[in-house]
Symmetry: C2
Subunit: 572 residues, 2 copies
């Protein structure tokens, strides 16, 4: 375990000591991830190249952008953060991603795929225009290299007339195994099967340098020095082939499963994803129109059963969120019934396509939005707290928030016969929480969980919020106090009949930012109807929410069980 490391000391290490350092880094990463969770395999595979980077370049004068950030752990340990590395992904601890606010060694924050090449170009242009002379490096995995944003940035290389080093760490995996055209092209370059493909890169303005074994430190040191030299004249693509998970056999053998690791002992609350895969399989058996599209996340979304059972109707298109959305829209235009499963924050990438392709044509695409609400340890870039806002502003889109996994299953079944765009959003963890009701799902119809004569009605959007509210309800009921509890299972459209019937105090609770969210929609509706109701909204503040425990962050950023309870009691 490395618990202290002076960034300067690596410069005087000999090769033996550097090899030992690689082993130490691997051990430190492994033990920390076992304790704190995080991304293991991708970080283990990047150890030698990171050591070679640190040995060859001069950080923080030189700048590096890690694409996504799942390969930055070794860099963090080497750049003065070894002492705090055991706080990885904990509240107020070291982030699992690059963070400018954390260290001057981090030049650009990442978290979503494909930004690194454009970011390196912008940093390099800023260097040129401000008369500086350092190196700027993009470190990117082959999975991200499929993303359209990378291609757009490559197209800009000549336009910006600047010089960057792109390190392409090619482990043949994106998150799911890498798919599609560019990976084949890079492989062929590597194998020299088509030597002229190197000219492709030259036409983008890149000099190509290949490294057959990016986990061999000697090779890496030599190639990195060559790349640094070449960078004086030209932008460079250093293509290194590594093994994801290198150094830990179980991880090498199961690179997908080890991509993200929960801390040992934490519960595997993946029931929503389980319901998704199982239900879609059941539906597909009866309905040949059903297809599934994923952007490189099929395992964590629970789609493996569908991919196994219906390989002809399941498409993992790699980290191409926009493309996946247009494929769904056009499949629907062609008469199919596509399901696009994705994490909440990654769907932000397809925002224009949801508007322009799916909803403007009113096509029956269903979005299954996982990791909605606060997601916890991954921090700002992964908190799915914007989706109710950015989706509800789009005409023609129905937005559902199940109260539990059982209702999720019902909603999925309903979606199969619903001939319009629909989004179903839910957090990672889930269970069957509530008594099953056999009421059919009707768009825009909510459900009373408890109805009484009280002047207080609480509208809860989705499982997490309803769980909080029911806990408050049960506590107060024991004291002889009661209020109305509503499962607001559609955020759009609202249940106007139910809202029209309300009197007294209306409380909304949601796992989303306040601006443009569920409470905002309810407030807007009641205001328009000149309702006399007093309205109170519990939602997240207008801030980026950092890493931390989910319950703690919910409390801290605006959805605090105690405050909700106090408000209800005050108004009973």
């Amino acid at each position: 375990m490395i618990t202290r490391f002076d960034p300067e000391q690596i410069k005087i290490y000999d090769k033996n000591r550097l090899n030992v350092l690689c082993d130490e880094l691997r051990q430190t990463i492994y033990e920390t991830v076992m304790k704190c969770g995080g991304h293991l395999a991708s970080n283990l595979g990047a150890v030698e190249s990171t050591v070679a980077l640190f040995y060859t370049f001069n950080f923080p004068e030189d700048k590096i952008v890690f694409d996504v950030g799942h390969q930055c752990y070794a860099y963090k340990i080497l750049s003065g953060r070894a002492e705090k590395f055991d706080t990885l992904r904990q509240k107020d601890g070291i982030s699992g991603f690059p963070k400018r606010a954390e260290s001057e060694y981090d030049s650009y924050d990442t978290g979503h795929a494909g930004t690194s090449v454009a970011a390196a170009l912008g940093l390099a242009k800023a260097r040129d225009l401000t008369g500086q002379n350092h190196a700027v490096i993009a470190y990117i995995g082959d999975g991200s290299f499929n993303n359209g944003l990378v291609y757009e940035a490559l197209t800009s290389l000549k336009i910006l007339k600047t010089k960057i080093l792109i390190i392409l760490n090619d482990n043949g995996m994106s998150i799911s195994p890498t798919v599609g055209g560019m990976h084949d092209i890079l492989s062929s370059i590597q194998e020299n099967a088509y030597g002229d493909n190197v000219r492709l890169l030259q036409q983008f303005g890149l000099k190509y340098i290949g490294v057959k074994n990016g986990n061999d430190l000697d090779d890496m040191l030599e190639s990195m020095a060559t790349a640094k030299e070449a960078l004086q004249e030209n932008s460079v693509l250093l293509h290194i082939v590594t093994r994801k998970g290198k150094g830990y056999e179980f991880s090498e053998e199961h690179p997908v499963g080890m991509h993200g690791v929960a801390p040992v002992g934490s519960p595997q609350d993946t029931e929503y994803s389980h319901i998704l895969g199982k239900t879609l399989c059941e539906m597909a058996a009866k309905d040949k129109r059903i297809t599934v599209v994923s952007a490189a996340m099929k395992e964590s979304l629970g789609l493996e059963p569908f991919f196994n059972d219906y390989p002809d109707r399941a498409f993992d298109v790699g980290i191409c969120e926009e493309n996946a959305a247009v494929l769904c829209a056009s499949m629907a235009a062609g008469g199919l019934k596509p399901y696009y499963a994705i994490y909440s924050t990654f769907l932000q990438r397809a925002f224009d396509e949801i508007i322009h392709d799916v909803c403007a044509m009113n096509l029956p695409v269903t979005f299954c939005i996982d990791r909605a609400g606060i997601s916890g340890a991954d921090g700002e870039t992964h908190q799915g707290v914007f989706d109710l806002s950015y989706l509800s502003l789009i005409p023609n889109l129905t937005i559902a928030v199940p109260k539990d996994t059982d209702e999720y299953r019902q909603m999925l079944q309903f979606s199969a016969i619903y001939n319009a765009p629909m989004a179903i959003r839910y957090p990672r963890a889930g269970k069957v929480l509530f008594d099953k009701t056999d009421e059919p799902i009707v768009v825009g119809k909510w459900e009373y969980m408890h109805k009484c004569e009280s002047q207080v009605t609480v509208l809860a959007a989705g499982e997490r919020c309803l769980t909080v509210v029911m806990k408050i309800f049960q506590g107060l009921e024991a004291e002889g106090k009661a209020f109305n509890v509503v499962n607001a299972r559609f955020v759009k459209p609202l249940d106007e009949d139910l809202l029209n019937s309300l009197k007294g105090t209306v409380v909304t609770v949601e796992d989303n930012v306040e601006i443009g969210g569920f409470g905002s929609l309810v407030t807007g509706y009641l205001t328009k109807k000149q309702s006399d109701c007093k309205i109170k909204t519990f939602a997240y503040e207008d801030k980026f929410i950092p890493q931390g425990g989910i319950a703690q962050l919910q409390r801290e950023y605006g959805v605090d069980c105690e405050k909700i309870k106090a408000f209800i009691v005050d108004n009973l």
Copy 2:
């Protein structure tokens, strides 16, 4: 002029008659665009290839997706819409873009760049899975071909295991002249300088067929037949080189200026764009940090003066909206002061990057958002009515809406010293409307245009709305009735002091959808503060707004001068 055309008749035409048809189409397109406005040069360049398509394939059984749609006029005329073609871009008339609702010959709606290849893939997969056997074609210009979404779709070709024909109409222009790597690669393929680049396309799964002169009908007919034959075995890229504007000399010589044509006689209300270019030049003279990034729209955004005067600090990256946003974020991270000018609906493409790159790092990027609000004749895909909603939900972002071009200039000057993300949104047309105030711009501070003892206060966001409200004000003032009028020049943050001081009736007026917009923010704030004010919001309904005259659409979709006036009078 073609005023009637039976889609079947082309099949019996001989080559002479087909050539005459090309001339007739050109004349019809030219005369219609001169009358109705629209896209001239791109449509003129596509005539021969469209005739060849129609002669060779069997529409509507075969399906075609026009990327963006600026090349679909000839197709529309040939596919049974000649009689109505003189209603182009008029209310309830023929759309300037493909529209499924308009004709069975239109398979997929477009308007934004880069969707056609993915859309063709999805339609082709739907064909395969439903046991059909027609051809599916994507027709795309070389400008769109730079977009990352196209690259993502090409990467999916092998994954989807289906067959499509891509017609790449290469006129060497995007909207600005085409820039960047892929265009050079395609040119080199065309010139056979690097014959092995064809293998690049093969690795994506494409067979390459090149046509040196895509405006020669004989060549086109022959190549189209070859492409149709090849499509039996493989996906095909038919690369045709055309001249944008072919057939009208002035248009060939000035292809940029003729890209979008306003109807003859209509005013050229481009003053906001004029202010942008001029002011940025003035600012750049004093501040070396200032850079400008555009995604292929520099002329229509008014940026030509800046590109001429500061070529080293001006970057047109082609139709790559996401890349442009990340370049701005990273330039700002590197110490520069970037301005990203773009149309409102195209910025939707960079939604995730605004959140993840610009605002999460709180970087001082300024977005200059043109064509905000209803833009008129381009219809659903170009109405900039979502931006206040999708921007206001993002933490750290300041949103300004100038009351006229003079205030726009002040806001731009203010932005230069403002060290955080800022968006300034404005419609196309603008003028200096109001008396100049020398009050400095302060974030979140509004301005009373008229203040009195009335119990009614109208908060107007931006020039169009303030113009409507001031017109009402002047009318009522003449009748001895007055109300308070506020220039709500910041949509975010709100002027909380001013809002706290209000009593009676508060009216909001905005050029944006109601959900999540300015009125929603005001309603949310006043509700939270338990204000006793009665609130009334005028904004657009939750619908996609079709093509039509701006004033008429404003009225029809919720911002109706008469209704606003009536509401004010009722509440005075």
